[in-house]
Symmetry: C2
Subunit: 289 residues, 2 copies
Amino acid sequence: MGVTANSFNSVSLDPPMVLWSLARSSRSLAAFTHSQHFSVHILAQDQDALSNQFARSGADKFAGLTLECGAGGVPLLTGCAARLQCRTAFQYEGGDHIIFVGEVVAMDRSDAPPLVFQAGRYAVATAKTAVQAFSAEAQDDDASFSENFTGYLLARAHFQFYSQLRTHLQQHALSDTEYFVLSVLLVREGRSIGNFNERFSYTGHQVTMQLIARLEVKGLLRTVGPAGQQLCHLTEQGRAVTLRIIAAAKALEADMLARLGEWDAVALKNLLKQFILHTDPGLAHPWSE
Amino acid sequence: MGVTANSFNSVSLDPPMVLWSLARSSRSLAAFTHSQHFSVHILAQDQDALSNQFARSGADKFAGLTLECGAGGVPLLTGCAARLQCRTAFQYEGGDHIIFVGEVVAMDRSDAPPLVFQAGRYAVATAKTAVQAFSAEAQDDDASFSENFTGYLLARAHFQFYSQLRTHLQQHALSDTEYFVLSVLLVREGRSIGNFNERFSYTGHQVTMQLIARLEVKGLLRTVGPAGQQLCHLTEQGRAVTLRIIAAAKALEADMLARLGEWDAVALKNLLKQFILHTDPGLAHPWSE
């Protein structure tokens, strides 16, 4: 028997005790009131499917899951942020619910960010820290931007990342736009100048025939097809250079996200994806044809 | 009497009941065990100072606060995400804590995002939704970026915002860099070309004497001082045009954040600030001299 509960709480440190509550109407009620043990799983941020599975009634909710065996023979799920094995200490009346208080007899945890449930939706939580540095000099009146302006924050974060990547581009004497062309070709070859520009025009950068010709002269790119309808392909050298820059970019990303912390890195990427989806004017996917 | 508690939970729907627990060692224990009523405040995300104030023992924690009067004469704080006025229904043993179960006799709520406490830090939670659209076509191997790459997400979010602002710049025939110059002058006048470039070099944009001359010709900017040491000032018209673009940018921001939702907007800005602070290579503040 297992249920998804959001009524969990810590209660006591000495002895270690936690509580949760279950509706009197639950089909699982008898199993829990008669059991001497239960276990509590704090789900990780990628376990929303598991949360949904145990929120549905009926069927064998444990089907297909990897299980371990906890105190009192209670099943334990894997991949969670934390697990608490409990001996049932008290059962209390709580209106239409029963409150179960358990003494924790064993626990383990991982570094996985926990799944949050807020306002009826799954969520991730992100630390609210150290942003005082932003408020000091900023004015926040109608006449001016402040450092609280989203457009400024996005630009600053982007360029701060990109300026460090640019040092790698400069080692290969590549401009931002030349690098865009190479990196998109790595994903899919045989693109036309028109295709690049459909993809990049929203960045304000433009791919010209001159730019393509420069990359050809550098030996990074070759074109096939008649003039005006050429399709671009990477040369061996072009592929090698692009892979080297991408490796550097990934190392840069790993370093920056480590400074932010794993949990906040998850939240930042999640929010940027949401922002992009919610404000997408209908741009082509960079990975599409 | 008041305490900061993270042991709060809902228990029952019919009758509506909630619970929380308090250490037997708390100086406030007698006040709560003898009281027929208590109130629960779900703090808003900007109330961490209030949370700290009620987490400290001693002194009058209510000093200086705006108070309202709730059921049973219990004080109510203001500015919270939600407030529950309760009649004490049960007091249960819970190890070194007492569990208070209250029947909710009144409640009110605001739209303020709630303050989250996670892993020992204040946090805000951000919805985890609808990001499936990102995973479909993306490869995530070493040979290529995927749409999960932070550098891509930052660039895409920035340019997606900026491409819409750019339509306003184009109405005034302004380039990105020309607009940067004008908007920074609005905050502080009398900047040199060197000052602009210290500030903007990380964006890859460069402010040249030609660019300044173009803005002078357009009547948006005037320079004072000897050649080579000119300082730039906005003209009346330059100030008016810049204010008009900034108003458009703020309207754009308001629209985009509304689509994201207020809570996630707070979280996004918070995370971008953290990212910027944690990865700042030592850039000049745009609002500094």
